[in-house]
């Protein structure tokens, strides 16, 4: 049976897509990732598997994708350019395709100095935009970098990330345009908390007609507590959490804060559903996968068993 990207099918059919992040464990136990996958199954179209996120050594993204594939999920293989040169990146793209993985997300990757291997050499042979271009050329022209022809091309749906909240703001849409020009077919955004700024960015996206060229999935991370919100605002670069949102989290008792965080996420999703050019959401419930089914259900995004 021919494997196809469920994410691609859902988006191509014009449905509002739902994906969720799934972080591999800091160990070799396959059960840890399978368990997370089972929580998400039936509530998402695809699961997005992080690649040694924050520079911390974890079970490999590709291996975790295969384990999730075996569970009947449609994995998105995240690839960062921090740890592999162009030989390894292209080789893993072919390997992923051979193993039935049908989506990749091309990223720079968090700098190694933030992780638990700060003395590592950062590779950065390609950058994320060059990786998008490389993956597309491999798929569409069956060519690797330098023009050599592949015996058979990989089958891939190629994605990238966008951060509307980094600086300088006017440049963020140019960067998205570059990713689209390089061949990105879907975009996963940074977590959206500052809706005003996100709307401004989307206006620029529509002004350039980019929303018709690429499927944009809005990033959602439910806040667990007011403390988490404050920590993210201060410590995570490129994260924009308005004071009003932090005050809102603080206005409820600590016991109720998780519930409030979920409520905020659901409100954000409802707003995104109405926004022209947003074709889905990407939920990054960091080590809180149990929250995903509830968010998806309460946001009115069930059932997910979309036959397209």
């Amino acid at each position: 049976m021919k494997t196809e990207s469920q994410l691609k099918k859902v988006l191509a059919a014009g449905h509002f897509a739902v994906t969720a992040e799934c972080g591999p464990p800091k160990g070799a136990d396959p059960e840890a990732i399978v368990k997370k996958g089972r929580i998400l199954k039936g509530f998402v179209d695809s699961v997005n598997v992080t690649d040694n996120q924050t520079g911390v050594v974890r079970l490999s993204s590709l291996a975790a994708c295969v384990l999730l594939r075996q569970e009947g999920l449609d994995p998105v293989f995240q690839m960062v350019v921090r740890d592999r040169n162009r030989i390894a990146l292209q080789s893993d793209i072919l390997g992923a395709s051979a193993l039935g993985i049908r989506n990749i997300l091309c990223l720079s990757g968090d700098h190694q100095s933030f992780g638990n291997q700060a003395q590592a050499l950062g590779v950065f042979d390609l950058d994320s935009i060059q990786l998008i271009q490389t993956a597309r050329r491999m798929r569409d022209e069956a060519q690797i970098i330098g023009g050599e022809v592949l015996t058979s091309p990989p089958e891939l749906f190629v994605g990238a990330a966008a951060n509307p909240f980094a600086d300088p703001f006017f440049y963020r849409v140019i960067r998205l345009a570059k990713k689209v020009k390089a061949g990105a077919e879907f975009i996963q955004t940074q977590c959206i908390y500052n809706m005003d700024r996100f709307k401004d960015w989307m206006t620029q996206v529509r002004d350039r007609g980019l929303h018709e060229k690429v499927h944009i999935l809005g990033g959602i991370t439910p806040l667990k507590s007011a403390r988490m919100a404050e920590y993210m605002k201060k410590q995570v670069a490129g994260m924009d959490i308005p004071e009003a949102l932090i005050s809102r989290m603080k206005s409820v008792s600590p016991k109720e804060q998780r519930k409030e965080g979920l409520k905020i996420s659901i409100e954000t999703i409802r707003a995104l559903k109405e926004m022209e050019g947003i074709h889905g959401i990407h939920i990054m419930a960091i080590e809180w996968e149990e929250a995903v089914p509830q968010i998806v259900e309460e946001a009115g995004l069930l059932p997910r068993s979309i036959n397209v």
Partner: protein, 222 residues
């Protein structure tokens, strides 16, 4: 210029400990500019070593000399006839200078007194910044004369990454984001169109792909 910093004194003392007669050799070019290995630093280091030897009742004779360049044969040749009188040379040159001197005098240990760092500029008194990696494929004109290979922590040709905030790099908040500088200057120059370009992967073989590099200029050879 090539920048360097002097090794800690303890390390240098340990390095010279097997030798009684040490020639302390400075280099008057790059490392003099970055106040690590010029004539003045040679004098200071040699006197610190002699003082330490006196305090520890160790025998040590030093002589100081500073060559204009330790990486060019015609200057290294000034050591001929002198170097044989010493057990070792303590070189305050960059790694290239140390190796060049050792190649001319292979039987005498040339000890490195400096840690060689990077190609950089003197930004202000006491501040040197790395701004060139010697990648062998200069494209500065496309990036408003700010090198993304050297000055971006992820050497991104199509930057910036998502970690650029308020003009600073997430990796080191004291360092300006190279891409923020590039964008600002391109805007000032009215060259923002250059930002829309998708730049191809670099040819790193020009940097380090085939081991040590060499430049051959037949027109300069005798």
């Amino acid at each position: 210029m090539i920048t360097a910093e002097r090794k800690p004194l303890d390390e240098i003392i340990a390095m010279i400990s097997p030798y009684k007669k040490v020639l302390v050799a400075g280099c008057g070019s790059c490392v003099a500019e970055c106040v690590a290995g010029g004539e003045k630093e040679v004098g200071l280091l040699a006197s610190a070593l002699r003082m330490d030897a006196r305090m520890t009742t160790r025998e040590l004779e030093t002589r100081e000399i500073t060559l204009e360049r330790q990486c060019v044969y015609e200057f290294i040749d000034q050591l001929t006839g002198l170097i044989d009188q010493y057990d070792a040379v303590l070189s305050l040159a960059c790694g290239a200078g140390v190796q060049a001197v050792a190649e001319v005098f292979p039987n005498i240990p040339i000890l490195p007194a400096l840690n060689t760092s990077f190609l950089g500029q003197t930004k202000e008194a006491g501040l040197w910044l790395e701004n060139c990696r010697g990648c062998g494929d200069c494209r500065l004109h496309l990036f408003a004369d700010i090198c993304p290979v050297t000055r971006c922590a992820k050497q991104i040709f199509n930057g910036p990454c998502g970690g650029s905030q308020e003009g600073q790099c997430e990796v080191n908040p004291d360092t300006p984001c190279a891409w923020d500088l590039i964008i600002t200057r391109l805007e000032e120059r009215g060259q923002l169109d250059l930002l829309e370009e998708v730049y191809a992967p670099a040819d790193w073989s020009k940097k380090q792909g085939a081991g040590p590099r060499k430049i051959i200029r037949e027109d300069q050879q005798n």
